[in-house]
Symmetry: C2
Subunit: 202 residues, 2 copies
């Protein structure tokens, strides 16, 4: 299988997930600044033109980093990073979505609209970027309160929700458009999680 990718928080999510699972595959760099992801050939494989994208031996293409991770989980089900079916999987889904929608997407909205990084291909509204930048840090208290009660976001076990939140926090710190407050339980958890060897995966 081949992973089409460009350096991004979403590619990093997949790398960390694969390292946790001990999986490897061929990687093909897609130059998104040169709009290679918008070429006819790429769009035929992955409509929407997003990266990363996984191409299987039989030509099946899987877009969306969480979908790629879910496929990887089926190749190597232990230890489950999407939780065991039932309450555990539901809690992972819940916290994964919260990390993504309430924080990661806000940071991305702030970054794209304030810096105009993709202004050659999308309309940017700086005022909206500022709304996102203001909202993102406020959401962190929800995660901090949860991490006061449990070792990991979804409970006792490390999951994809933790990967998403760490990657989003690191991205926020790197692009500097969102202020990331120091919160005690997030700090404790961030230290634990980012020390895992998988987080050095690149």
């Amino acid at each position: 299988m081949k992973l089409y990718e460009s350096p991004s928080p979403n590619a990093r999510r997949v790398h960390i997930f694969m390292a946790e699972k001990g999986l490897e595959c061929e990687r093909i760099e897609v130059d998104i600044r040169a709009a290679e992801n918008l070429s006819t050939e790429y769009l035929a494989k992955n409509p929407g033109g997003r990266v990363p994208m996984l191409e299987l031996q039989d030509g099946t293409c899987i877009g969306e980093s969480v979908a790629i991770c879910r496929y990887m989980e089926s190749l190597q089900p232990e230890a489950p990073l999407f939780g065991m079916p039932g309450v555990e999987a539901a809690k992972v889904e819940m916290w994964q979505r919260r990390a993504e929608m309430n924080f990661f997407l806000e940071v991305a909205g702030a970054f794209r609209n304030i810096t105009g990084f993709f202004k050659d291909r999308e309309t940017c509204v700086a005022e909206w970027g500022r709304v996102c930048a203001e909202r993102a840090p406020k959401m962190l208290s929800m995660f901090d309160e949860q991490l006061e009660r449990t070792p990991y976001l979804a409970g006792d076990n490390f999951s994809i929700a933790d990967i998403t939140l760490v990657v989003a926090l690191d991205f926020a710190r790197m692009v500097k458009v969102v202020e990331v407050p120091d919160l005690p339980s997030i700090e404790r958890w961030y230290g634990d999680v980012s020390a895992r060897s998988s987080f050095a995966a690149s």
Copy 2:
């Protein structure tokens, strides 16, 4: 178990999913216009204050409609609406995310920012609403092309991805902030899917 809800596209997703699974539960109406979802009691159960939310017998609370549906899937695994583990589940995740992020969230962004429906509790940027309203219909061609090739969004089987897209399309038509073009394969599929008895669930 108890489902806390208010009339919304997300509540409708859960209702349809439950009807597909033949599941029922007690329902508790939450008045979001009166900000009941932002009360201390509700927030203790579901930080972030979103609806719907499912409370289990043991007090466990599950927020996020897709997480609630995933829990329902574990109660009644047949027929799977999240796909069988492996390529099928990955494709469902991919199309479910595309339906949600590339269409449903754009429609919601247009609705909230243009109409100011929640302006008592969030900052609205009308210009951003117009960007969302312009983007949403353009994404529909991706779904139309897929539905030209396969009976359902994720392939041969009906899935949660279909539920999300129908609910989002109906919401877009209802709130009238997004133009919904007539596309032939979407029309064929919409007729098939919305005729299922589960879609009459409310």
